[in-house]
């Protein structure tokens, strides 16, 4: 809080009040604060201004904000002088001119009639019209004003990683786009490997460089060749994968490629162990971490029947993702028939109890530094899925449940995982217990939720590589929703619950589209065309 012309003094009671309520009064004084991991310096110039203090403040390094009640103090005492080193100057006092025509105030108390530039943004100087009306006369053409200022990372606030060259694989994915923006915000130089002109990142304006090569699950050999070629070029400082197959390729070549760049992937032995869902279940069961009861060493149908597992059960591949190869089996007889019909190798499957689908599907997303410390974690719940019977979440919302964080933190520690890790769980509605399903060893698809809720994993990745310490980011905003609008439309068309779902399909509060933005609409349209082409091809 800075000091204006109506605050000639503060009483001793006021001072105590400020201390008790954590209010910092900047009466010709400055402080350094950290907001979302960004360091800022804020200094308040009072009406009773102190130009000696101002000069010292102006010489300090970093991003500086100057709350300065009187616009004319900035205009006449600071602007265009050597002390004008501030990044943002925030003024008020004019009350917007009380009656305002455009930017001209009819009357500004103690300033005069027909005063120009009484409200608005003038370069780095913002003049606020004020939040109250203090006169006998109503405001005309001049509503009260609360100014929301979004300070973006690319204003040079955090220059520690400026110029670092980042290669982001899998330009098709939405998380690649979010990380591209976040790395740009850190001043990094981002290059994205795409597979198609309609890839999300290829259609975006955010990547500084786009490479059209091979990057898709249908051509793993070609993808591997492109990844090896690019990393071995030595042009990149950091390489980060966003799909299972890219992460697998990087992990399997980690020893060889680490001489060229930092690879954001776990070592091959740790990676391969954690990719096997049976191993994840084994670690959970051996350490009393809740998970569906699993027969993780069955080799045959007889092994399953010999166990005490209760039907219904599920069979799903121990490797892979999505609903591919998923079978729900109600009886012992169905089990034998299913294995025979689909020629299933039981030793390659996860065999576990079926958890009723009434509970929420949730994911906890962590960043674990190289020392093994969890530096951030946020949880989201998925409310709708497409395909309806077991696809990806199309509406996700950040939630807060300590028990979920505790389970996932213990699990990643037991498994020795590092970097960005996602732990998928389902909440068993029978006992309200979150149960582990699998881990994702890469940034999750809904990375946008993390960035929106205040967790900058891109910054943590860079700090883990180049700084002394990774900034802890344990607090995040809950109730933020991200929606994949095109797929949500498909859900609406197909789902019999279209009018019964909660939250309502029509509820758009605190909801942001996963791809669309007015400043960068290309990815949304590209994804639409990509999906339409896929639909036609499949038909």
């Amino acid at each position: 809080m800075s000091v204006g012309n109506h605050e000639w003094y503060f009483t001793a009671e006021d001072e105590r009040f400020f201390v008790d309520h954590n209010i910092t009064v900047l009466d010709n004084a400055d402080v350094q604060v950290t907001i979302k991991g960004k360091k800022l310096r804020i200094g308040g110039l009072s009406t009773r201004y102190d130009l000696d203090w101002l000069e010292k403040y102006a010489q300090k390094e970093g991003t500086k904000i100057l709350p300065c009640h009187h616009p004319e103090h900035y205009k006449y005492k600071i602007k265009d002088r050597k002390t004008d080193t501030f990044d943002l100057v925030l003024s008020g006092h004019y009350h917007g001119g009380q009656w305002r025509i455009g930017n001209v105030g009819v009357y500004v108390p103690r300033i005069g009639l027909m005063t120009p530039k009484v409200k608005g943004k003038f370069g780095k100087h913002i003049i606020n019209a004020g939040v109250s009306n203090t006169t006998r006369f109503p405001r005309l053409g001049n509503p009260r004003e609360l100014v929301m200022i979004k300070i973006r990372g690319d204003t040079g606030m955090d220059s520690r990683f400026a110029g670092k060259k980042i290669l982001l694989l899998d330009g098709l994915t939405s998380q690649c786009l979010e990380y591209t923006k976040a790395f740009n915000g850190l001043g990094c130089d981002s290059t994205v490997l795409c597979d198609d002109r309609f890839d999300t990142c290829y259609a975006s304006r955010h990547p500084k460089r786009k490479i059209l090569g091979v990057s898709n699950v249908r051509d793993l050999k070609g993808t591997e060749e492109w990844i090896l070629k690019l990393v071995k070029s030595g042009e990149y400082d950091v390489v980060i994968p966003f799909t299972e197959y890219s992460a697998t390729i990087l992990s399997h070549h980690k020893k060889e490629l680490s001489t060229y760049a930092h690879l954001i992937v776990n070592d091959q032995d740790v990676f391969d162990y954690a990719q096997d869902k049976n191993n994840v279940m084994k670690v959970c069961m051996e350490n009393d971490l809740p998970c569906p009861m699993t027969i993780y060493d069955a080799k045959s149908v007889d092994d399953i029947l010999a166990s005490n597992i209760k039907f219904p059960i599920i069979l799903k591949p121990s490797h892979g993702f999505g609903s591919h190869g998923f079978h729900k089996i109600g009886t012992k007889e169905e089990l034998a028939a299913c294995v025979e019909k689909f020629d299933i190798d039981v030793s390659e499957m996860v065999v576990q109890e079926y958890i009723p689908q009434e509970g929420l599907n949730v994911a906890d997303n962590l960043f674990v530094d190289k020392e093994g410390n969890t530096k951030s974690a946020f949880t989201y719940a998925s409310y709708r899925f497409y395909p309806i019977d077991g696809g990806s979440g199309v509406l996700n919302e950040t939630i807060d449940r300590k028990d979920i964080h505790d389970i996932s933190t213990q699990l990643v520690k037991k498994m020795g995982l590092h970097g960005p890790v996602g732990v998928d769980m389902i909440i068993d509605a029978r006992d309200d217990t979150p149960k582990v399903l699998e881990v994702n060893l890469r940034p999750i698809a809904c990375a946008k939720l993390g960035f929106l809720s205040g967790i900058n994993t891109a910054q943590q990745i860079m700090e883990d590589l180049y700084a002394d310490e990774v900034t802890p980011m344990q607090q995040y905003k809950t109730g933020i929703r991200v929606r994949r609008s095109q797929i949500d439309w498909m859900w609406f068309i197909k789902s019999p619950n279209r009018f019964k779902t909660k939250p309502s399909w029509f509820d758009r509060r605190n909801t942001v589209d996963q791809l669309f933005s007015w400043s960068d609409p290309g990815p949304w349209f590209a994804f639409f065309i990509y999906g339409f082409r896929k639909f036609i091809r499949e038909r």
């Binding site: 809080m1 000639w8 009406t47 709350p67 103690r110 606020n128 006169t135 929301m148 905003k477």
Partner: protein
């Protein structure tokens, strides 16, 4: 935000809660603390701090008349409860 002037703030508080900002910067005139005799300052000295003579010269007298016409209501509000402090309490 600026120029709260110890005025009623219910709608403002609702708006702030809805926006959920990471930080709130108050750029002056949140409270009403300008009675003469309670500090070393007076209206005249405060006008000097506000650069008024430098800026307007002979217009200052006319402005004082106009200022009286648009006098602040914040002081009246202070008589019952210091709404400025109540606001700071509620947002802290």
């Amino acid at each position: 935000m600026t120029d709260m002037h110890s005025m009623p703030y219910d709608d403002l508080l609702m708006l702030l809660q809805k926006q959920g900002p990471d930080a709130i910067l108050l750029s002056g005139d949140t409270l009403e603390r300008h009675e003469e005799g309670k500090s070393e300052w007076s209206f005249l000295s405060m006008e000097q701090w506000q650069l008024l003579p430098e800026m307007k010269g002979s217009m200052v007298s006319l402005m004082r008349v106009l200022d009286r016409l648009v006098e602040h209501k914040g002081i009246e509000a202070e008589e019952e409860e210091d709404l400025g402090l109540a606001f700071l309490r509620d947002i802290s």
